[in-house]
């Protein structure tokens, strides 16, 4: 019997796996940020332990950094960033701090530095670590106790998850992007459909996608409940990696290619389950509720909770509509917005910014709408500025900021006011996610840009080519 990509990576990283017990897995790369690490470093200090492999660990500042220049005025945020800096110094962990030129959202910088490579095990105290699966790595989010465990031992105990193949079949229409595919898949699977599973994304649509689009897909695996999602590495992956600072060179590059080419699932590999997503029938997606599974096509309407068969689902939909200030039956394109956020580890890479910039070029943000672009990293920002994208955004009336997680979770000053409605390229529309009382609609960068100009949701497929 053949093996899946997941099985090959798993088996190559087992340090020990006694019958009936969790496997102890070796961790190739551990990414660290300021929010979920201070208690882990403190635990090491209290127990007199060191970081076993600082050379496999990398820290950055992303979650609570302000995106406007100037000093950090929030004393708690400053204390947390100071703690990261002193912890990294004390334990010898490399840190890309704000201003280093290499800082940014942890899931954006790993790939752009060439550290995220096929076949690796990658963990981080952040649920969107699944992003790195786009390279054919087994990458998943962990809690702070596990962060401490990895810092101390470079290993992690894990029960082997089940595998699910998610096949995106058919060709996407113009204007339908990776974000729409993954939102459509979450709508079909449900927010718990992937619990206990590693998802492998396959199909012609995935093969045709850039690494950046594949990252958008893998990023949101956790929104279907799956800790990890991955895509088999191919020539697109290798072309992305070649020449990056962390990528192998010379003979080591050739050896790496040989290893990476052996990773894709064997033809006879068996998954615990398989689902198919019909890409050709997908329209651009817009969430209407308070979890990412509450999603409809832009051509649709806000659903009627009364149509839910399950009483818990019905009650949840009623609560969601009440929170979102929406009425059943309202056409999605009649929903007016106050704010637009283009950013996050889901959609703040250069490809995302290019798509959005192309739509806003020469146009103006609708009166009354405040729109924000937050590049995913300092390098993405520099790249976009070199290409003149920042001017396209600012000329259209967008604010152009420094890199960070920003309004995806509103730990920094970028938050929605109570009742404000936002078209957001981020990954979670949970209550209060972007600010207490704020209302989030998840969309693609193209849809967010188009909504900024119109002041309400529009179908990007109907924009002039």
């Amino acid at each position: 019997m053949g093996k899946t990509l997941f099985e090959k990576i798993w088996e190559a990283h087992v340090v020990r796996e006694p019958p009936g017990e969790p496997a102890l897995l070796w961790v190739d790369l551990h990414l660290v940020h300021e929010v979920t690490s201070p208690q882990a470093f403190e635990g090491l200090r209290l127990a007199g332990r060191r970081v076993r492999r600082p050379d496999l660990t990398l820290a950055t500042m992303d979650h609570n950094v302000p995106t406007l220049p100037g000093p950090i005025t929030d004393p708690l945020a400053r204390a947390q960033l100071d703690a990261l800096r002193s912890n990294c110094e004390e334990f010898g962990v490399p840190l890309y701090a704000t201003g280093s030129g290499r800082e940014g959202i942890v899931h954006v910088i790993g790939p752009e530095l060439g550290l995220t490579q096929p076949g690796l095990t990658i963990v981080c105290g952040d649920s969107h670590t699944s992003t790195h699966g786009a390279f054919g790595a087994l990458a998943f989010g962990i809690g702070t106790s596990e962060v401490e465990h990895v810092l101390a031992t470079q290993t992690l105990g894990q029960r082997r998850p089940k595998s699910m193949l998610v096949r995106f079949e058919g060709e996407a229409a113009r204007g339908v992007t990776a974000k729409d595919l993954i939102l459509g898949a979450i709508g079909q699977l449900g927010v718990a459909g992937g619990v206990g599973h590693v998802l492998e994304y396959a199909g012609a649509a995935i093969r045709g996608f850039s690494l950046e689009s594949r990252m958008t897909i893998c990023n949101m695996s956790i929104e279907a409940g799956a800790r990890a999602g991955l895509v088999a590495p191919d020539e697109t992956t290798f072309a992305y990696l070649e020449g990056r600072p962390g990528s192998p060179t010379g003979a080591a590059w050739e050896r790496a290619l040989d290893r990476w080419r052996a990773l894709p699932s064997d033809p006879a590999a068996v998954y615990d389950s398989e689902v198919e997503i019909d890409v050709a029938s997908l329209a651009p997606q817009v969430t209407w509720g308070t979890n990412p599974g509450m999603v409809v096509p832009v051509t649709g309407r806000v659903p009627d909770p009364a149509e839910s068969a399950d009483p818990d689902d019905r009650a949840a939909a009623e609560r969601a509509l009440d929170y979102m200030g929406l009425r059943p039956g309202t056409p999605i394109q009649e929903i007016r917005i106050d704010r637009v956020f283009i950013g996050s580890c889901t959609n703040a890479r250069i490809e995302d910014l290019r798509i959005a910039a192309e739509i806003v070029a020469g146009k103006k943000v609708a009166p009354g709408v405040k729109a924000l672009v937050v590049p995913g990293s300092a390098q993405v920002k520099a790249h976009a500025e070199a290409d003149g994208l920042d001017r396209l955004f600012t000329d259209a009336g967008f604010e152009w900021r420094n890199a960070g997680c920003s309004m995806c979770l509103g730990m920094n000053p970028d938050v929605l006011a109570p009742g404000e409605r936002c078209a957001s390229t981020s990954n979670r529309n949970f209550e209060g996610r972007q600010g207490p009382g704020g209302r989030t609609h998840l969309v693609s960068p193209a849809m967010a840009a188009a909504a900024a100009l119109a002041g309400h949701f529009v179908d990007v497929r109907e924009l002039d080519a």
Binding site: A47, P94, E146, A152
Partner: protein, 203 residues
């Protein structure tokens, strides 16, 4: 980590599906660098209004649920973010046990690492427990992790399955890192045989 064997206490009911960790501890409280004191901010935006007053109708503000040690929750409890603060906050508030039809994977792991007992029971049994607690508000329930049983307020005894490794660690209050370091030789052998493909110090 403190050991947990048997918990008897009042029960609170939070009958909503897909309660995410952003609700359990909102992000505005994630800037703290300690592990304690999160009980005050548990479910903060659901518990308190804009003026900081308790919201009528939210479960934890119900006097019948005051001092509860067991939380009965809806399916997919703790989905979303990896923040371990969610488990810390539930424990700090006074909960020793959460019972739900299913959990978010990362939350469930975090709970097991921090001494919070996260028990899965079939949805109809959780609903049944909710009904019996609702009929007899303020009643107590017993969870026996050693025997893997839940004794309902009406005396019914329900069995549950629990990850053996986690159960052993919880029952004895063992440190996860200490347990792993018992296998330091095997880790070192793996490490020696597998040169690292990346070097974060050499960029």
């Amino acid at each position: 980590m403190k050991a947990v064997r048997r918990v008897t206490g009042r029960v609170a009911i939070l009958d909503r599906p897909d309660v995410d960790t952003d609700q359990i501890v909102p992000k505005q409280f994630l800037k703290r660098i300690g592990r304690t004191g999160y009980g005050d901010v548990l479910f903060f935006d659901w518990r308190y209004d804009e003026q900081g007053q308790p919201r009528q109708g939210f479960a934890l503000n119900d006097p019948a649920f005051a001092g509860a040690k067991v939380l009965l929750a809806g399916r997919n409890f703790g989905c979303g973010s990896s923040r371990e603060h969610a488990a810390w906050a539930l424990s700090d508030y006074g909960f020793d046990v959460v019972i739900a039809p299913s959990f978010g994977d990362i939350f469930r792991t975090n709970a097991g690492k921090t001494g919070l007992v996260a028990i899965v029971l079939p949805e109809r049994e959780v609903k049944g427990l909710m009904e019996s607690v609702d009929l007899d508000r303020g009643s107590e329930l017993t969870v026996d992790l050693e025997a893997r049983t839940v004794t309902a307020p009406d005396g019914r005894v329900l069995g549950f399955e629990f990850d053996e490794t986690t159960r052993h660690r919880l029952l004895h209050g063992l440190d996860d890192i200490d347990l792993t370091l018992e296998h330091a030789d095997e880790i070192a052998a793996y490490e020696a045989a597998h040169p690292s493909p990346v070097d974060t110090a050499a960029l």
